[in-house]
């Protein structure tokens, strides 16, 4: 337990130092921060946008925005919540601009049951990984029908395992509200599953 705590603390301190260096203009330090977070940020953007091309654009936009604004970040330890917030905002912005104009990388399988999805079909490579697992597949389809903010909070909590306090900071809401929204998103997912059935 102590080893785990010590390792977490060491990692945090190391990241804080990288943030401080990046804040002073060290692009190499920023790249180190990017390397550790790019998959997570990409997934967060994807959960809002539901396709690879837009998720990649939003992630890139977000990192560049983070780099530009980094000198204004006061507390290095707040970096992750701050970055997630930028990613979520970038994805929301892009989504507003591209509703109805979304690029679809490959002809995706469209769910053949249930109500028409309000978003586009999920990405094919993710689909292939869960091929044959009906329950997961149904949850995935239900997930795609949720509102973007519901998808984002579920992804942050269930996939990225971010603490509720950080999710609250990411979304700019009190912790209690974050808990509530998490609860609401989960219930929405369950209702969407019922619709699947």
């Amino acid at each position: 337990m102590e080893t785990l705590a010590a390792a977490q603390h060491a990692a945090t301190s190391q990241d804080d130092a990288l943030v401080r260096r990046a804040r002073l203009g060290d692009a190499g330090a920023f790249d180190s921060l990017v390397a550790k977070r790019i998959d997570r940020c990409y997934r967060l953007a994807w959960s809002i946008l539901l396709n690879d091309a837009d998720a990649a654009d939003a992630t890139q936009d977000a990192f560049v925005a983070a780099w530009r604004q980094l000198p204004r970040l006061r507390d290095p330890s707040a970096f992750d919540g701050w970055l997630n917030r930028i990613v979520a905002n970038a994805a929301r912005m892009l989504r507003r601009h591209r509703v109805r104009l979304r690029e679809i990388t490959i002809g995706s399988p469209v769910p053949d049951e249930g109500p028409t999805a309000s978003e586009q079909a999920p990405d094919p490579h993710a689909r292939s990984e869960i091929d044959g697992v009906a329950e997961n597949d149904a949850i995935g389809r239900a997930f795609d029908r949720l509102r973007p903010d519901e998808r984002a909070i579920l992804a942050l909590h269930h996939v990225e395992e971010r603490p509720v306090a950080e999710i609250a900071r990411t979304l700019g809401i009190p912790t209690g509200t974050a808990k509530w929204r998490l609860h609401a998103a989960r219930r929405a997912l369950e209702r969407a599953m019922e619709a699947e059935a």
Partner: protein, 713 residues
């Protein structure tokens, strides 16, 4: 109602399969390339004139950012130059007044030679009206003084940069405060003279910088745009007059100090972030002129870091929040003073019989998520085996009643109420409601309420609903309203208001009465304020960098438990601010993941702490690793004799942690409703009400503890 419940493990597994495991190939490379050609929004221009800016801290921060970039170069230059030469006042060495062949190098030497400056005193005039004095001592310490008028005999404010420490006498509102920060000066303090002397002269154009690392421009163009104008005399000293894109500098040939700077008004290029304007952007200075320069040793006492007599100390965090609220998310604007109505008592306090309820009632308010429609937002009483009964409020009344709080004698119930014309959000801190008031009603032995005994009206206009807390004696009610802590006498209706630092622009500060009722601890950004009830004075426990909440006093009122919302951990701190100790230990390694601790509660006897522990892998009643769920922890102070109890079966959305009056059970809200969990093994959780769809209940345990134990057996 919903037969398709999903476990956390199901959701996690499905979403992990559904969402892409990795970013697109090549995306990182694209990010790196984009970053390489993107400039950071470095607030360099705002450092100009920073020392005349009332917000010196902001200017200092900007300067430090800039100076950090330049430090290596400056120090290398200083080393190459060797020890600086002491200059004598009465002797001006032979100077070469030939116009500089390399103007850029000459201009750059203005910064490079700062660490070589000898002891001196300088008088300056900004834009012909603002007087400044700068003192430099032999060790490199610097004192910057700012005078209200050119004729003022004493400085209005000043900063002393001594070694790595800066102390400053600053103005906050109409008061003077002393702010001292250790370890924030990481270079020779003399380099800060450049900022103080370069007013409008250097412009923010490529080639017009004064340093080699010219912001985002790059080394190659630094100072290359400067051209020589002529040799002129300022305060009797020869200077080279240089110009660049409308800005002019007169640089002392001997010391390379800038003796005059003049230029077009700065058009600061700081780009607002998140819609916030930079308050320094409009405070450009057009000219700064040295009006007197005396070389020679200066009195040592000018550079001592001593708090001036009669001036209060303010932490750097607080100061920064005061002068630069845009950068301080937790500070709310000051609120106008409000005087409550003189008569708040609505009726005499009835003499109520002692309650004979067998079981202590639990008062519950459901979240008023739609006040306009009248749904929820009412107060219920619940107890084991008895259906929840609404005692306050009705459907469609358009009023939210929340935060019920039994008086210590169990005979009165205080709560907050408010109105809203439309739907409002669910979190109590966010309710933008009006018609706010604190109401007190009597409660009889059946749990039936009387008409209102008192009603304390709150300021008109929108604000968050206000939650009261009874004093241990049951005479006073305290509640937090914006930047004020109110202490209301429930027997006379009189109210006192004590200024506090508001914790947020939306919610109200959390606070806790001491056990003896003599003090109230108030959670503020970076500190815990202890308000002394008798005279309204307060002392501050610094918890730098923390966002304290969930406050609780330990036995003897000598320590305070708090949760730091930033690190999501439980702390214990002495009243004098010492021994601030992390007491929430991370759960078993087998639970895995990272842990957060969002709520804590001190036991009724003040000797134990209960806290909710959540693991990122196990937080919602299921563990992705298949091991332990997040338990509720009870431990002695400092986390000894730790007992972990399983949380409510639903395990999700657990909050509202309370101790039972007898200290033997814990009360929580979860998606299962109001849940009590017995301390120790084998004590099953008891669900008092099915709270499905009413998550976020606000709980209060009535203090009728005498019958608790027998009923629960």
């Amino acid at each position: 109602m919903n037969d398709r419940r999903l476990s956390d493990a199901q959701i996690t597994a499905a979403l992990r399969a559904h969402l892409p495991a990795q970013a697109q190939a090549g995306l990182r490379g694209r990010v790196v390339e984009a970053v390489e050609i993107t400039s950071q929004q470095r607030p360099l221009p705002s450092l100009l004139g920073a020392f005349s800016d009332p917000d010196f801290v902001r200017g200092r921060s900007s300067l430090l950012i800039a100076a950090a970039l330049l430090l290596a170069l400056a120090l290398a230059s200083a080393a190459a130059a060797g020890a600086w030469q002491l200059l004598r006042r009465d002797t001006v060495p032979q100077l070469n007044l030939t116009p500089p062949a390399d103007v850029a190098a000459f201009v750059l030497s203005s910064y490079d030679r700062m660490p070589e400056l000898p002891p001196m005193a300088i008088s300056t005039l900004e834009d012909g009206s603002v007087k400044g004095r700068i003192y430099v001592d032999q060790s490199g310490s610097v004192r910057f003084e700012h005078y209200a008028t050119p004729a003022a005999p004493q400085p209005d404010t000043y900063e002393i940069l001594n070694g790595t420490t800066m102390g400053q006498l600053a103005t906050v509102g109409s008061d003077k405060v002393w702010v001292q920060q250790d370890g924030i000066i990481s270079e020779d303090p003399r380099v800060f003279l450049l900022v103080a002397l370069d007013g409008g002269g250097s412009v923010n154009q490529p080639g017009c910088g004064l340093t080699r690392n010219d912001g985002d421009v790059g080394d190659g163009t630094a100072a290359s745009g400067w051209t020589y104008v002529g040799t002129e005399s300022i305060v009797g000293r020869p200077t080279f007059h240089v110009t660049c894109d409308g800005g002019d500098l007169w640089i002392d040939v001997q010391t390379r100090l800038i003796l005059r700077s003049q230029g077009p008004e700065q058009n600061a290029t700081v780009v607002p972030v998140d819609g916030q304007s930079d308050p320094g952007a409009s405070q450009a200075i057009e000219t700064i002129e040295v009006t007197d320069l005396e070389l020679g040793q200066q009195p040592a006492d000018l550079f001592g870091l001593a708090q001036p007599v009669g001036v209060a100390t303010m932490s750097s965090n607080d100061f920064e929040c005061q002068v630069y609220p845009a950068g301080c998310p937790s500070l709310s604007p000051p609120q106008p003073a409000y005087t409550p109505p003189a008569v708040a008592i609505q009726g005499p306090l009835p003499s109520l019989p002692a309650s004979s309820a067998r079981n202590g009632w639990i008062a519950v308010s459901a979240n008023p998520w739609n006040v306009g429609g009248g749904q929820n937002g009412d107060i219920y009483l619940v107890s084991e085996g008895v259906a929840p009964r609404r005692i306050i409020g009705s459907d469609g009344d358009g009023i939210a009643q929340a935060c019920p709080m039994f008086s210590p004698d169990g005979q009165r119930l205080a709560y907050g109420e408010a109105r809203a014309s439309g739907p409002v959000t669910t979190y109590r801190g966010d309710w933008p409601v009006d018609g706010r008031a604190i109401v007190v009603v009597g409660v009889d032995e059946h749990g039936d309420p009387t008409a209102a005994l008192s009603r304390f009206a709150l300021p008109a206009g929108l604000g968050p609903i206000v939650c009261p807390e009874w004093s241990p004696t049951g005479r006073f009610l305290a509640f937090s309203v914006g930047a004020q802590l109110w202490i209301a006498d429930a027997t006379t209706g009189t109210t006192r208001m004590i200024p506090i630092t508001s914790v947020t622009t939306k919610g109200n500060n959390e606070f806790a009465w001491s056990r003896d009722g003599s003090a109230i601890a108030v959670a503020e950004p970076g500190q815990i304020r202890v308000v002394h009830v008798d005279d309204g004075t307060s002392t501050v426990i610094p918890v730098e960098g923390a966002a304290p909440r969930s406050l609780g006093w330990t036995a003897g009122d000598d320590r305070i438990v708090y949760v730091d919302g930033i690190e999501a951990a439980v702390h214990l701190v002495e009243l004098d601010g010492t021994h601030d100790t992390l007491i929430s230990s991370h759960g078993p390694a087998s639970a895995g993941g990272s842990f957060s601790f969002d709520e804590a509660a001190v036991s009724p006897d003040g000797t134990q702490v209960a806290y909710l522990q959540s693991s990122s892998q196990c937080s919602n009643g299921g563990c992705s690793s298949g091991s332990l769920p997040a338990p509720i922890v009870v431990a002695d102070l400092y986390d000894s004799n730790r007992v972990e109890m399983p949380g409510p079966a639903g395990g999700f959305l657990v909050s509202g942690l309370h101790w039972s009056p007898d200290g033997k059970r814990l009360l929580l809200s979860s998606i299962d409703g109001v849940v009590s969990v017995g301390l120790g093994s084998g004590s099953a959780a008891i669900v008092y009400a099915n709270g499905t769809d009413q998550a976020g209940l606000n709980l209060e345990w009535s203090p009728l503890q005498v019958t608790w134990q027998s009923v629960l057996k």
